[in-house]
């Protein structure tokens, strides 16, 4: 983890207490709402308004069963929907990015840079300009309020293609591809059996990036969906908050729901830390 540059001796005698202090203050700021929601989720409705906020309560089990019982467990349907949209969407996204990035990195063909630039321009497209017509076009083919309406538009990820091109250029040597051709392998077979395994660490990053993006997405489902059996977590919690704003009794449900909604992603990142580096997210390919 430590950079080679940090081993050199430095002039100051005191250790790095200032940077350490700054970083710990930053960490405390970033953890504050998370610690709060963990504590708040353990409180029963009456404890929430009466006890000190950073002290655990006694109502977690009660909150959990209340949440599971809310409208026949619709919360868990939201959770399953989010997992479906994010999991399947990110998988397809990584696949599309992989083939596109590979083609852009290892072939020379007419219009290569144009294709790349046009695809990249998609990054800059505000979702707002897409959302209104996407809804109307989905309505034309009677796909609004369906699982597909929130899944299809998120498969193409310009940033994913950008990353895949960088990874492919760095990880797949042109000679290996040429050698495959000499052996008479078809282009698709070379990609699948030779290039794909080499690109895998990068593709995991694209998968993660896109998983987080879809899991966190709100605008698209907000516009496309009206049946709350198809809602992802973000939209479900938003509607719950909307109803609960005037009924403090629903606060505990919203808070417990918010905690459970962030647990999977945080767990995923903590787990993946062991064999995956955050640096990959910004396109760093050197280890």
């Amino acid at each position: 983890m430590t950079a080679p540059t940090t081993t050199a001796p430095r002039s100051g005698r005191r250790g790095g207490w200032l940077p350490t202090a700054v970083l710990f203050v930053g960490a405390a700021y970033c953890l504050l709402p998370v610690v709060w929601v963990v504590m708040a989720a353990t409180k029963s409705g009456s404890e929430l308004f009466s006890t000190f906020t950073f002290w655990p309560g006694t109502g977690f089990a009660g909150n959990l069963s209340d949440l599971s019982g809310y409208r026949d467990g619709v919360y868990w349907t939201w959770m399953a929907n989010s997992a479906l949209y994010a999991g399947l969407g990110a998988l397809l996204s990584a696949a599309v990015s992989a083939v596109s990035g590979y083609a852009l990195a290892l072939y020379r063909f007419r219009g290569r840079e144009t294709v790349f630039n046009v695809l990249l321009a998609g990054v800059l497209m505000p979702p707002v300009i897409l959302a209104v017509p996407q809804y109307l076009l989905m309505a034309e083919v009677s796909l609004t309020d369906s699982h597909l309406s929130v899944l299809l538009p998120v498969i193409l990820s310009p940033y994913g293609i950008y990353l895949a091109r960088i990874y492919a250029a760095a990880a797949v040597p042109q000679d290996v591809v040429e050698a495959g051709r000499m052996d008479g392998a078809g282009e698709w077979r070379i990609f699948r059996t030779v290039a794909l395994p080499m690109m895998l660490p990068g593709l995991v990053t694209i998968f993660l990036f896109q998983f987080v993006a879809i899991w966190n997405n709100f605008l698209l489902p907000y516009i496309m969906l009206s049946d709350d059996e198809k809602f992802p977590l973000t939209l479900g919690l938003f509607t719950l908050l909307n109803q609960g704003a005037n009924t403090p009794a629903l606060y505990t449900l919203v808070i417990t729901g918010a905690l459970l909604a962030i647990v999977p992603l945080i767990a995923l990142f903590l787990f993946i830390q062991r064999f995956w580096s955050l640096d990959l997210l910004s396109g760093a390919v050197k280890s």
Partner: protein, 307 residues
């Protein structure tokens, strides 16, 4: 046939076939909607008579009237102004903190580097809606630890969900959520600086501050430009956070940001044509601002290289 092709290097058709899925998705979910939005923005609904019965409402060409209406609409202009103020708080603060944390992570003899890096990155994994919800509760007097503490000390309690404080409240959510990712981007760039550069600076007797200021920051300038670019784009489209905070306060209108106005026009008021025009305007402003800045940054970098 295959042997013949192999002898001439890469086959011609393969890259196009590989790019087919992306091209198809791009056409269907990017190009077509953008074109359609442009078309819709030039049309309007004309109502004949009382607007009753079939044929009384028809879609006709509107020219640029939707655009002139939008650009002279005080509601949209107020929203644009609010987002400008919000952006002037969020972007410098978020990138300033991201740069500060990245520099601290990169400095010598830091303790808890892995832990703090992960902790500061953590909010990236929290959806904007949920971040707004969590902070919303932290701002809410009845459950907030801040108000609890102030109350216990007998001090006056600020209302964070109205007036000018609302900008601070909303900006805080964006800064909290975005600092970590930008920090990672900048930190990655810092670590790519070769060690020899530092050795030379140390031999010249540069202090840590001088190294940070004269070497590190100029060398990560491209990352700063990139993060700035994405931050501006994200800021101009702010939607999730104010929409989520709305149930908790009366001070947030349904048209607080231009993007919220688009939603309001297109899906609540049912006027897709003016919604489309506003969306196109936001897109054009986003492009103009981000590319204008890139050109500016590019020209500066070139000037410095030529010196």
């Amino acid at each position: 046939m295959r042997k013949h092709r192999a002898a001439h290097g890469a086959p011609r058709r393969a890259p196009y076939l590989f790019l087919l899925p992306a091209g198809l998705l791009f056409a269907l979910f990017f190009a077509l909607p953008i074109g359609y939005a442009g078309y819709l923005s030039l049309r309007k609904i004309e109502v004949k008579g009382l607007g009753l019965g079939s044929g009384a409402r028809s879609e006709v060409w509107a020219g640029f009237s939707n655009y002139t209406d939008a650009l002279t609409d005080p509601v949209l202009l107020d929203g644009a102004l609010r987002v400008l103020v919000y952006g002037l708080i969020v972007v410098p603060l978020m990138l300033g903190l991201a740069l500060l944390f990245a520099l601290m992570l990169d400095s010598d003899r830091v303790r808890g580097r892995a832990f703090t890096r992960l902790a500061i990155f953590l909010p990236y994994a929290v959806p904007g809606v949920i971040a707004a919800l969590l902070w919303g509760f932290l701002y809410l007097p009845s459950v907030s630890p801040l108000h609890y503490t102030l109350d216990a000390l007998g001090l006056p309690q600020p209302d964070l969900l109205s007036g000018g404080a609302l900008y601070v409240a909303l900006s805080n959510i964006a800064v909290w959520g975005g600092t970590g990712f930008n920090m990672i981007v900048i930190y990655t760039a810092l670590r790519a600086i070769p060690a020899e550069v530092y050795e030379a600076a140390r031999l010249d007797g540069c202090s840590q501050w001088q190294i940070a200021w004269r070497i590190k920051i100029p060398m990560v300038a491209p990352s700063l430009v990139l993060t700035f670019f994405f931050s501006v784009i994200a800021t101009l489209q702010v939607f999730n956070e104010p929409t989520t905070l709305r149930p908790l306060t009366n001070s947030l209108s349904t048209t607080w940001s231009p993007m919220m106005k688009v939603y309001q026009d297109a899906f609540v008021a049912g006027d897709i044509h003016s919604g489309a025009a506003t969306a196109v305007i936001i897109a054009v402003v986003t492009f103009a601002l981000s590319f204008g800045f890139l050109r500016l940054a590019g020209a500066r970098t070139r000037r410095e290289e030529n010196r």
